[in-house]
């Protein structure tokens, strides 16, 4: 009984890590620009396709695949910021949200048009093998363990980046008050571009980690819709919050899929987010919001 619970929880944690990775992308962009990037899931999909191209079609080793996808996606992310986000800088945030929705549509469509990608479903091989580790009655696939470890590492790096790096602090400053950030000599536009690159790179990383579990296809970006609840539950704008939110959603989903009747698994994430929003309107780790006139 207990081992079953443990097993489900572990599977949920592994799945939650993927949600957390996508949620991290949301949080990064939110932290710097106060907007939510609805195309995050689609950026992840694109990253996975680049990984697929490098790993399966060109036959590169795994680490090179990851590096390639991250670099290409960082460029794509910066390009998106330069072309469509910068012209609307300074306009209401909902404008930018609608633009990211449009970008998501374009990315999803473009992928189906590229020869070699198309509308097929692909699998991406990983070097972690298919071994399992026994863990007090529960089993954990090495792939899942790798996902958890890599997510943890990435979170630590990002946390340290925002806490100590000069650029990270500049990004936070930009988010809190653009005008003051300008006065302090922060190149706000360049910072915004960098943060889009960073978010896209994180998305690529998430896409490659997700690929063995969910396969690579043009609609895999819809998993991003599950990552929203994760980001909200944790509180937008908080890196640890995104991770905690992702884990909560992943575990709740895994448990609901087993203990509750069919159908609850798919909506568990959304029920959780509604409940959390009802009692904590800005999430668990969210900052206090106070309107100043």
């Amino acid at each position: 009984m207990f081992s079953q619970f443990l097993q489900l929880t572990l599977a949920g944690v592994a799945q939650g890590c993927v949600y957390a990775l996508v949620a991290l992308g949301f949080v990064l962009i939110y932290k710097a620009t106060e907007t939510v990037n609805f195309a995050q899931g689609d950026l992840m999909m694109l990253g996975a396709f680049f990984g697929l191209t490098a790993g399966t079609i060109l036959g590169w080793p795994y680490w090179a695949t990851i590096l390639f996808a991250i670099v290409v996606m960082a460029v794509v992310g910066m390009g998106i910021e330069r072309v469509v986000i910068r012209p609307v800088l300074g306009y209401p945030t909902f404008t930018v949200v609608m633009i990211t929705i449009g970008v998501g549509y374009v990315l999803r469509g473009v992928v189906t048009m590229i020869p070699g990608w198309g509308t097929e479903t692909y699998a991406l091989k990983t070097p972690f093998g298919d071994g399992v580790i026994r863990f007090g009655g529960a089993v954990l696939a090495t792939e899942q363990l790798a996902t958890i470890a890599l997510t943890a590492a990435l979170c630590l790096v990002l946390y340290l980046f925002f806490r100590f790096a000069k650029l990270g602090v500049a990004m936070q400053a930009t988010s809190q008050n653009q005008l003051a950030a300008y006065y302090m000599g922060i190149p706000v536009q360049r910072v915004n571009m960098l943060i889009w690159g960073l978010a896209a790179a994180v998305a690529a990383f998430g896409g490659i980690l997700l690929a063995p579990v969910a396969f690579v296809h043009s609609n895999m970006g819809f998993i991003g819709l599950k990552a929203f609840p994760a980001a909200v539950v944790g509180g937008f704008g908080s890196v640890p919050g995104a991770v905690v939110g992702g884990l909560i959603i992943g575990v709740v989903e895994a448990l609901a899929g087993f203990y509750l009747p069919e159908g609850f698994k798919d909506v568990a994430a959304y029920v959780v987010v509604l409940v959390v929003l009802l009692f904590m309107p800005s999430g668990i780790f969210g900052e206090t919001i106070r309107k100043k006139v």
Binding site: T33, E34, T35, V84, P87, V88, L89, G90, Y91, T93, F94, T95, V97, M98, I99, I101, G102, V103, G104, Y105, V106, L107, R108, G109, V110, T112, M113, T119, S175, Q176, N177, Q178, L179, Y182, S218, L225, F228, V232, F236, G237, E262, G263, D266, V267, A269, Y270, V271, V273, L274, L277, L278, P281, S282, E287, T288, I289, R290, K291, K292, V293
Partner: protein
């Protein structure tokens, strides 16, 4: 150029500002009435869709464009309206009763959704409504005894007071009539104190509440009205399509509905109708354009790319939407040759977080 000299405050809230408007809306009305005799059956069917989407667009416009509350879950209200209509019709209720029930039930659901909206702002509200949409879709799929699950529901032709609306023309007149009613309802709401309160809330919640506007009450009213109109649109949609199933009411549909508002022009009733017409004609335009492209391009992908590009292009180049473009063209000729590029320029503002650390 026309100068309107206002000598009375009631002139501001007249339905028609001047004789020209009466003339042109009269022409439009006559054309709409004569349409079944002028156009082919296919165009008439598209006109029905435009009317239905206009009603939905008007509902969403009230909420997004005038009250400033973002909803990514309007497909859920559409579903509530459509299923209420389908079930009540199957139970033998007359159309007038079932349509009213569809509107009232949607409004009730709107109030329930509006409750968390009182505490949530901006993007959190968008995500709450979006979560609600997913939950409603799942409930419809799983509650098979009531909704038929994925097998969907079939609808028969409408019957009003013993008269069957089985022909294209009669259904068209019903749609046009309800659209006109919806427009008149919204015009009346918007020129009343309630409508002014909505606009005040959109422009600044703090100053609105300082002026004595009860935020909770008006936001709830806005949600309820918007949901009711969307429910009516849903009931008509169900009859138009003749078959409803859960996959017609997904998040994608919700986003498409918001696109009506954005493309039409946020904050104008004309915009809702123009946006609806645009969204209905878009697939048609794409399939024509498809002829010029190589065969290797998948149609689904092309549709998605074009849709995304149009959305992005509108927001960047024409933030006031189709109606804004029309206003600009009209102003250009009105004041010719003195039009200036800066006339409609939007104010940019520096972003300041309201988060405190």
């Amino acid at each position: 150029m026309r100068f309107i000299f206002k000598t009375d405050y009631t002139q501001d809230i007249r339905l028609f500002q001047h004789g020209g408007q009466i003339f042109w809306y009269g022409v439009l009305g006559v054309l709409l009435l004569a349409a079944p005799y002028l156009v082919s059956g296919y165009v008439l069917s598209q006109l029905q869709f435009i009317c239905i989407y206009s009603i939905i667009g008007l509902g969403l416009m009230l909420l997004v464009g005038y009250t400033g509350q973002i909803s990514l879950g309007h497909a859920a209200f559409l579903a509530v309206g459509a299923y209420t209509e389908a079930l009540l019709q199957a139970a033998g209720m007359p159309f007038v009763v079932s349509l009213t029930s569809a509107a009232l039930l949607s409004a009730a659901v709107g109030i329930i959704v509006g409750l968390p909206a009182l505490r949530l702002k901006g993007i959190y509200l968008a995500i709450a409504t979006f979560a609600f949409n997913v939950i409603v879709e799942e409930i419809i799929t799983r509650w098979e005894s009531l909704t038929g699950g994925n097998h969907g529901k079939l609808l028969k032709a409408i019957e009003i007071f013993g008269y069957r609306l089985s022909s294209q023309e009669s259904f068209y007149y019903l749609c046009v009539g309800l659209t006109v009613l919806a427009v008149l309802l919204l015009i009346n709401v918007l020129r009343s104190p309630t409508g002014r309160a909505f606009v005040a809330i959109r422009d600044s919640e703090v100053s609105a509440s300082c002026m004595g506007i009860n935020l909770a009450y008006y936001k709830t009213v806005s949600f309820a009205l918007s949901a009711a109109l969307t429910g009516v649109g849903g009931a008509l949609y169900a009859h138009k399509v003749g078959f409803i199933s859960p996959e017609q009411f997904t998040l994608i549909q919700s986003i498409e509905l918001v696109t009506i508002v954005i493309i039409g022009g946020v904050g104008s009733l004309h915009g809702a109708v123009l946006g609806a017409a645009f969204i209905i004609m878009l697939p048609q335009g794409i399939s024509i354009a498809k002829g010029w492209l190589p065969d290797t391009v998948p149609p689904a992908g092309l549709q998605s790319v074009v849709f995304g590009l149009i959305l992005v292009a509108f927001i960047i180049f024409e933030p006031y939407g189709l109606y804004g473009r029309w206003l600009k063209i009209r102003t250009y000729f009105d004041v010719f040759p003195f039009y200036r590029r800066g006339t409609f320029r939007r104010q940019r503002s520096y972003l300041r977080s309201e988060r405190l650390r």
